[in-house]
Structures are given as structure tokens and as C-alpha cells.
């Protein structure tokens, strides 16, 4: 409870962010009625910093800070939210859109070229790929 209340601004940049997420996900975020069904049924919600429905809300308000949330990386794409949403929104697609935006920034958490060659040789390829993706952002 140490986070102080902060004022948010409604900006053109925020509107553009909403448009971008809607374009990548193909989902009309503004249709979300904030019923919380996605959050209540999410099997990993306790591991998240903000709930899935909060993600929907913040994207609608153009809050780009959601890109730094853990939530979309915790999301296992189990589609529980998607099959339950009373407004038939595909919430999993929104999480994927947010991951895509981060991935497209091409920020590498691991620089493979700096890994010792012996270690790279021993590593399963899939571990390398997922490490690169999972640790992004």
C-alpha cells in the first residue's frame, strides 16, 4: 500500500497505443465491460501483478505502462478467459499482442554472442529460444 495515487493523462499517444493493441490482437478492447470474469477464472492470477481485466482497462485508457507488467508473461494462453468472456473478447490475444509489442522492440535480455561457446553447445536449442523470448522486457 505504499504506491501513491498518481494522476493519469489521456493523450493522443495513448489513443495510438490502444489502436496498436487492437490492430495486433484483432480485438475491440473498448467492448470490455469490466465484469472480471477473466480475472476470477484465471488459474495464474495470483502470480500476476495486475489482473487480466486491469490489463484490458489500462490498454483502453492508453496506459503504456502495462507493457512492463508481468501479467502477459505469466499468461499461459490456456484460453479460460477467452471461452468465458461474456462479450466474446479473446483476452489471450490481447496478452499476445502486448508480448508482441515488447518483442518487436528487440531488446535482448541475453546476448547470445557473449555466452561461452561450450555452454551454447551444451544448451538445448529450445532453451535458448525460449530464454531469448521469455526474458525479453
Amino acid at each position: 500500500m505504499d504506491d501513491r495515487i498518481k494522476k493519469i493523462k489521456l493523450t493522443d499517444r495513448g489513443v495510438e497505443f490502444l489502436r496498436q493493441v487492437e490492430e495486433i490482437s484483432g480485438e475491440a478492447i473498448t467492448v470490455c465491460e469490466q465484469c472480471g470474469t477473466c480475472s476470477g477464472g484465471c488459474p495464474f492470477v495470483e502470480e500476476m501483478d495486475i489482473t487480466p481485466s486491469q490489463i484490458m482497462r489500462k490498454v483502453m485508457l492508453g496506459q503504456e505502462e502495462v507493457l512492463h507488467s508481468r501479467t502477459m508473461w505469466i499468461c499461459a494462453s490456456c484460453f479460460t478467459c477467452t471461452v468465458r468472456c461474456p462479450r466474446k473478447l479473446d483476452v489471450s490475444k490481447v496478452a499476445e499482442a502486448l508480448r508482441q509489442i515488447r518483442l518487436r522492440e528487440a531488446i535482448d535480455a541475453i546476448d547470445i554472442s557473449k555466452l561461452p561457446k561450450e555452454e551454447v553447445d551444451r544448451m538445448p536449442t529450445i532453451a535458448l529460444v525460449s530464454a531469448c523470448r521469455k526474458l525479453t522486457g
Binding site: G36, V83, R84, P86
Partner: protein, 792 residues
């Protein structure tokens, strides 16, 4: 035969573009043309006077008027004919203004050629016009009300009080409907049965109401203020003579009956016997035997009969049937509560302590009893929007009453058991009605907690049977995981099971949500598109009791206003049968969408004029062309088509458009009014609907020179004849087969729909048809001749 032809200049609107002098010369001297005249304004008094005088002076028996679209002045000119003593249907109108001078203002020559063709078509058609009479039908005072819930009760009482004779049919063994189940009503908390029972009693005692319970509409047909219904009387297995006076209410039969089952009226919260009174305040107050569980047939049990002092049981009762003929019908078949088993996540039907709203009504009603049939425990949750606003179960709409009924049930429970910890989980709380917001606040004041979030997970403890609910409080963003003793699902309202059947029987339109559709959402909220059928209550959409009662009275008012006319005119443009051509094959009986064709005493087809709507769907089904349609007979349309195409010169192409009178023809008019330019190589002829266009008519058009035939109709939704598309598609396939057999391209036949809200579509379609025609080869004249159905 003496035909008078009148060309209207329309103050230059027509004559500045269309060369009326040339047309006058063209038509003068034609066969049986007695007089041709030009006037500046034919619709004016002076213009009409000229026509009337000519009819007398020349002894005209037919009139053709070249002027604006018939939708503007057909009535005017028919009136003029009547005043001159000529049958008003001996008139044809050639659309010179909207379809020629305005549409092709930029090309006077083409406009004149098109006008000439349209005039020739009208003259060709009028030669075959016959006098028609509008029949006046008497209206009676008989009304059928289907459904005996509060909506039907209100309608029936208002109608009966105003002197109408009402037949009220209810399928349950008692009237009162869902309202009888409710404990108290929101927001005033007055007791539902206390306000309903007097009305129910009034229905039973009313001398103008014929009350039929256990009744079902076996069949009903008709429209336009004449309906015939067959009613099935389901057996009650109790002597019909037994009534409250004779039954001493000793209840010995109930005590003696060895079987029990969940009480339907009590929503299964308490049990009843196989012989029972449907509800404590049932009307009629009469026992009924539930044959599903009664042991009489299976084991020969006569326990009830043995003890009954009146010997009222009739175990072998069979269904009976009766017929009623009425002038108007009010549909008030109400709603069913959403079956929460469709949404398995809530555990309804599986978890002991998950109940729906109606069950909670009964639980709350019993709560103050010494030994209530069911306890509620310490902590209770209400879950809103179960089966409402949920597209996963195909229900997008809000049920409008659940927010308030949950608030009411919670309030009543809190008053009875103040120690109960009550939560209402909602998505949006809708307290829009009179006194609702105040009632909501009162509930909050009592300590009922409203949590904004829709529960997602439900788990039952196998031992305690407590239900654990997982839900996000979307305001604090906390995930709540809590145990409840009782979970109440605020299940929404769905159209009652009988709604679909009744809609099919009466050909009523259904909204996307499954409720019946009113004629207009603003101006005609209780009318339907079927003349003489009205809606009352929740059959039209979810609503609370005050709105239902208001609509019930409104429906009664509309019935009274409609019947007050005493009589109504039947449009004579209906189907009829040429007796000499009918081979009594019977093909047409099944075809008619309104069941207006029946066999007469000679075994031939006969049209019931009170039922026929003049759509023309039957014509294409009759291989002998024995069925015909007044105003648009086969011979009339063949003549019009032939004349409209006669002006086609070598090297030219022609598209013939059959435009339905409700949409396509009017869209062409509207395009003209807006002076929208489009190709001039088409000729639009009016038909009542797309299904009037028979395969033979299309073939005939090609035989006489058409290069493309466009059949235009209203969009499927909102079509005056909802079946038109289905018939049209079938007939068009047959017409295409006729072309294919001769090796002619089948894409020369086009079917599309048009509306006034999309005029460019019409213009673009005709332009693209024009382009398409230019690319198409000429049809061989020999092949054309072979297409002529009249030559076969």
C-alpha cells in the same frame, strides 16, 4: 374497347425532357385508342375533369395515364375514374417522371424512347384489365388472448370491460403465470399474490371472458382481422363439472395419494402429491392429477377416488378440441427463466446450494414460517447476469428485472434474518425505473454489499456442501475467494417455449434475441406486422410488472381501436383460379405461405380471399397457369413485357427489371426524385413481390428481346412477404434451367434486393448491367422464339 391516353406535362417536369408531341403521334391511331390528350397538370381539378368528361363523351372503358409514379397519384386517378362511373381498376399508369424525364434528364432522346416503351407497356397491360371490387368485411367483437399471465389477464379484462368477447387460453392448470410464484414485488414490496389474486378472480367471474386453462393452440391461421384457432384441452382427469362449490376442499384425496413429486408452483422447494391444487390461489381452484407419476394406470391405484366424497376423478379422460373464430389476437405467452444448466460453471442442478431466482422467491416466501422448507445459512451470494448479457450462451440482451429482483430478495431476506451476510455480485447495476434507485440505496443501507465483479469459479465442498466462489472485485482489483451457504443465480428471462411455435403459426417476426418483434419499436410497440395480431408483456421482450400491465392495456386499446371501424376493405389484388384451367392436381395447397388455397366442392383449387395476401407465390407453382393474380395477371404482364420490349431496335440491348412494389420500384422512384443518372437501356415494370415473377414470365421476357432480366425485391429481413426470397430463388433457378437448356448464359438472370437507404446500389446495379449487356453476345432470334412459353 375504348382506351383514353393522357399525357401529363407536369408543368414542364416531364415535357421539358420527354418529347410528348412525338409520343402523342406514336400512340394516336393505335388500336382502340379513342382519345389522346396532353395536360399541364393531370392531377389538378381541371386535369381530372378532362378525364371524367372524356369517359362520358367517348364512352371510355380504360384509361392510361403517363405521369409521375403510381405511388403518388394512383389513388387520385382511381378516384376520378370512380366519379365518372368507371371501375377504378381500369387504370394503368406509365411512370414518365421518376423513371424517364428525371432519371435521364441529360439525354432527352433516350428518355423519350424509354417513355414510349413504358406507355406501350401500360397500354398493352390495360387491354387486359378487368373491373375489380373492394370487398367490405364485417368486423366482429371476438378476441383471442393467448397466455393467462398478468399481461394476458390485463388485456382480457380491459377488452371484456369494453364489451369485447374474449377467449383467454392458458396452457397451465391455473392462470396468473410467473407472477403467482413471486413473493413480493419491487420496489414497493407489496405482495404479488395479494395484487394478482383479485384480477384472477375477476377473469373467472367475467361474463365476457371464456377462460380456458390446460389449453394449447393446436393450430391457428389467418391474418387481416380474421383468425381461426383450434384449441386443445388437455385432460385434467377431474370431472369438468366439479367446481369449488361441489369440492368441499377436504383434501382427503391429497392425503390419500401415495406418491409425491416436487411442487412445480413452489419451484420444487416443497413437495406435492400426484393429485394437487396447482397453487394456493389457483384460478380455477380445482384439483388436477399428474399422470406422469400417478399410479392408477400402472398399478391400478384408486386411493384418491376411494376417499373422495364427490367421486370427481376421471382417470381415462382424453384431450378434447374446440374451435374459435376471432377478429383479433393478442399474444401474451410470456417468458421462461433462463435454464442455468446451460452455463455449467455455476454448478446449478449439480450443487445443492445453488438455486435460481424463482426458487429463491419461494424460499424467501417461506422464510418466516416456523419450519421453513429450506434454510439459507449465514452467508448468501446473489450472482447477476446469469444467462443475460452473455454471448457465450447466445444472449446479448439485458433482462431488465434481475438487478431489482435480487435487490428485493436480498432486502426481504435481510429483514427476515438480519444476521445474514448478503453479497450481490453485479457487472452493471441497472436501477432505472421509478423508485428503483431509492430501493437500491435502501438495500445498501441495510448492509447488503454490492460487489462489482462477475464470479468465475464455483466449487462445492463435498462434505459441508458450502460453495466456494472466485471473483474479482473489479473496483478494488482484489480476487475474492469466499465460501457461501447459498448461491442465488439471478437467471435472466428467455422467450417462453411456446413463443417460437406461436410465431410460426401466426407468421410473426422474431427479433434477434428470440422475443417477438413489434411492428415499429417507437410508434407501434404492441402491433405486429400481421394485421390484427398484437403483443402484450414479456413475449415482446423482458419487462417488469408495471411495464407488462401497461403493455397489456395498450394491446387491448389497439384491439378496440382496430375493431371500432366495424368493417374493412379487402384489397382486390388477390389470387384467383381459372376454373377451366385448373386440373385439380393439388400442387398449390402446400405452396401458399398463408394457407389461403383450399379444395372446393369440385375438387379444384379455391382462394380464400380473407386469407390471401396477394404475394403471387402460388403462380409459379402452377404448371397450367390456372392460378392468377388480379392486377398482375399472366396475360397482363405478358402483354406489358412484350410492349415494353417492342421498341428495341437492331443492335440495341435491353434489361427488363421486375421491381417489387414495396422496395425496388420505389427505389427507382427515389433515384429519379434525386435526379441520379443511370443507364437508360432498362425498363422497370412493377410486380407485387419477387415471388410473383414466374419462370415462364422470365422466359417470355427473353423471348421478346430482353438481354438481361433483373428481379428486385426488398431485403429478406423486413420484407412484407418474408417468404418472397425463398420462392424467387426457386423460380429463378427454374428460369435459369430454361435458358441453360437452350445454351443461353444463365448469368443473364439477376436477383438482388434494394432499399431506399442505399440508392447508389440500384444505380450501380443498372450501370453494371448495362456494361455486362454490351459484352454479351446477341441471343439468336430462333432460340428466343423457342423460349416463348405461350408457343408451347
Amino acid at each position: 374497347m375504348k382506351i383514353g391516353v393522357y399525357l401529363c406535362q407536369c408543368g414542364g417536369n416531364i415535357s421539358n425532357t420527354v418529347d410528348l408531341e412525338a409520343i402523342q403521334k406514336h400512340i394516336e391511331g393505335g388500336d382502340e385508342i379513342a382519345v389522346v390528350r396532353q395536360e399541364s397538370h393531370l392531377c389538378s381539378g381541371a386535369g381530372q375533369k378532362a378525364i371524367i368528361e372524356d369517359i362520358g363523351a367517348f364512352g371510355l372503358d380504360r384509361v392510361v395515364i403517363a405521369s409521375c409514379s403510381p405511388q403518388f397519384h394512383e389513388k387520385t386517378f382511381r378516384g376520378a375514374l370512380s366519379r365518372a362511373g368507371l371501375n377504378p381498376y381500369m387504370l394503368e399508369i406509365a411512370n414518365f417522371r421518376e423513371h424517364c424525364s428525371w432519371a435521364h434528364k441529360d439525354n432527352p432522346e433516350a428518355a423519350t424512347i424509354k417513355a414510349t416503351d413504358l406507355l406501350d407497356a401500360s397500354v398493352g397491360k390495360v387491354r387486359h384489365n378487368v373491373p375489380l371490387e373492394e370487398k367490405m368485411m364485417k368486423l366482429g367483437d371476438d378476441v383471442l388472448v393467448i397466455g393467462g399471465g398478468i399481461a394476458g389477464i390485463q388485456t382480457a379484462l380491459d377488452l371484456a370491460d369494453s364489451g369485447k368477447n374474449v377467449t383467454l387460453v392458458e396452457k397451465q392448470p391455473t392462470i396468473g403465470g410467473n407472477m403467482t410464484i413471486l413473493t413480493k414485488t419491487f420496489p414497493t414490496e407489496d405482495c404479488a399474490s395479494c395484487i394478482l389474486s383479485p384480477k384472477m378472480a375477476e377473469v373467472q367471474g367475467h361474463k365476457r371472458i371464456n377462460l380456458i386453462v390446460d389449453g394449447e393452440i393446436e393450430s391457428i391461421k389467418g391474418h387481416r382481422l380474421h383468425f381461426e384457432a383450434k384449441i386443445k384441452h388437455k385432460p385434467r382427469y377431474i370431472s369438468p363439472e366439479i367446481n369449488m362449490d361441489e369440492c368441499i376442499g377436504c383434501a382427503q384425496c391429497e392425503e390419500a395419494c401415495p406418491v409425491s413429486a416436487p411442487n412445480h408452483w413452489e419451484q420444487g422447494v416443497v413437495k406435492r402429491k400426484a393429485i394437487f391444487i396447482p397453487a394456493p390461489h389457483a384460478i380455477p381452484y380445482k384439483y388436477i392429477i399428474d399422470k406422469e407419476i400417478c399410479l392408477h394406470d400402472s398399478e391400478g391405484c384408486t386411493a384418491c377416488f376411494d376417499v373422495c366424497p364427490q367421486k370427481a376423478m376421471v382417470f381415462d379422460q382424453e384431450p378434447e378440441y374446440s374451435n374459435v373464430a376471432v377478429d383479433a389476437v393478442v399474444v401474451a405467452t410470456g417468458y421462461d427463466i433462463f435454464d442455468a444448466r446451460e452455463k455449467p460453471v455455476f454448478g446449478y442442478g449439480e450443487f445443492e446450494n445453488v438455486v435460481n431466482g424463482l426458487e429463491m422467491e419461494r424460499i424467501v416466501d417461506h422464510i418466516n414460517e416456523k419450519n421453513p422448507p429450506r434454510d439459507v445459512g449465514k452467508r448468501v451470494a446473489f450472482i447477476q447476469c446469469v444467462g443475460s448479457r452473455d454471448e457465450q450462451v447466445g444472449r446479448e440482451y439485458c433482462s431488465r428485472v434481475c438487478c431489482m429482483y435480487s435487490t428485493k430478495l436480498a432486502s426481504l431476506l435481510k429483514q427476515a434474518r438480519p444476521e445474514t451476510d448478503i453479497y450481490i455480485f453485479y457487472t452493471d447495476l441497472r436501477a432505472f425505473g421509478k423508485g428503483f434507485e431509492e430501493y437500491y440505496k435502501r438495500a445498501q443501507k441495510m448492509g447488503i454489499k454490492f460487489i462489482r465483479g462477475k464470479p468465475a469459479e464455483f466449487k462445492e465442498d463435498p462434505k459441508t456442501k458450502m460453495v466456494t466462489v472466485l471473483v474479482e472485485d473489479t473496483l478494488s482489483r482484489d480476487i475474492i475467494e469466499a465460501e457461501f451457504d447459498l448461491v442465488v443465480l439471478a437467471a435472466g428471462l428467455t422467450p417462453s417455449k411456446s413463443t417460437e411455435k406461436i410465431a410460426e403459426q401466426l407468421k410473426l417476426a422474431v427479433s434477434d434475441d428470440g422475443f417477438l418483434k413489434e411492428a415499429h419499436p417507437k410508434y407501434r410497440p404492441v402491433d405486429t406486422l400481421v394485421e390484427g395480431v398484437f403483443l402484450a408483456g414479456t413475449v415482446q421482450g423482458p419487462k417488469d410488472i408495471p411495464d407488462t400491465v401497461a403493455q397489456g392495456s395498450a394491446a387491448a386499446g389497439r384491439v378496440i381501436a382496430t375493431l371500432a371501424k366495424g368493417e374493412f376493405a379487402v384489397d382486390p389484388m388477390l389470387a384467383f383460379v381459372h376454373d377451366d384451367k385448373c386440373t385439380a392436381c393439388g400442387e398449390c395447397y402446400e405452396v401458399c405461405p398463408v394457407n389461403a388455397i383450399a379444395e372446393n366442392s369440385d375438387g379444384k383449387a379455391e382462394i380464400k380471399e380473407t386469407l390471401c395476401v396477394g404475394c403471387g407465390a402460388c403462380l409459379g407453382a402452377c404448371s397450367e397457369e390456372a392460378i392468377d393474380l388480379n392486377g398482375f395477371t399472366n396475360i397482363q404482364l405478358y402483354s406489358a413485357v412484350e410492349a415494353a420490349l417492342a421498341g428495341k431496335k437492331p443492335g440495341e440491348k435491353r434489361a427488363l427489371v421486375f421491381g417489387d412494389s414495396n422496395c425496388t420500384y420505389r427505389v427507382a422512384d427515389a433515384a429519379g426524385v434525386r435526379k441520379m443518372k443511370y443507364a437508360n437501356d432498362n425498363r422497370v415494370l412493377m410486380v407485387p413481390s419477387s415471388c410473383r415473377v414466374t419462370p415462364n414470365l422470365v422466359a417470355f421476357a427473353f423471348a421478346k428481346g430482353a438481354d438481361i432480366v433483373l428481379i428486385g425485391d426488398c431485403p429478406e429481413k423486413g420484407n412484407k412477404f418474408e417468404w418472397a426470397h425463398d420462392f424467387a430463388k426457386k423460380y429463378i433457378e427454374q428460369a435459369k434451367q430454361i435458358l441453360a437448356d437452350k445454351g443461353i448464359e444463365t448469368d443473364r438472370i439477376i436477383f438482388d434486393d434494394f432499399t431506399a437507404s442505399n440508392l447508389p446500389k440500384f444505380v450501380n446495379t443498372l450501370n453494371s448491367i448495362s456494361e455486362q449487356m454490351k459484352k454479351l453476345p446477341n441471343i439468336d432470334p430462333g432460340k428466343r422464339a423457342e423460349l416463348n412459353p405461350l408457343e408451347k
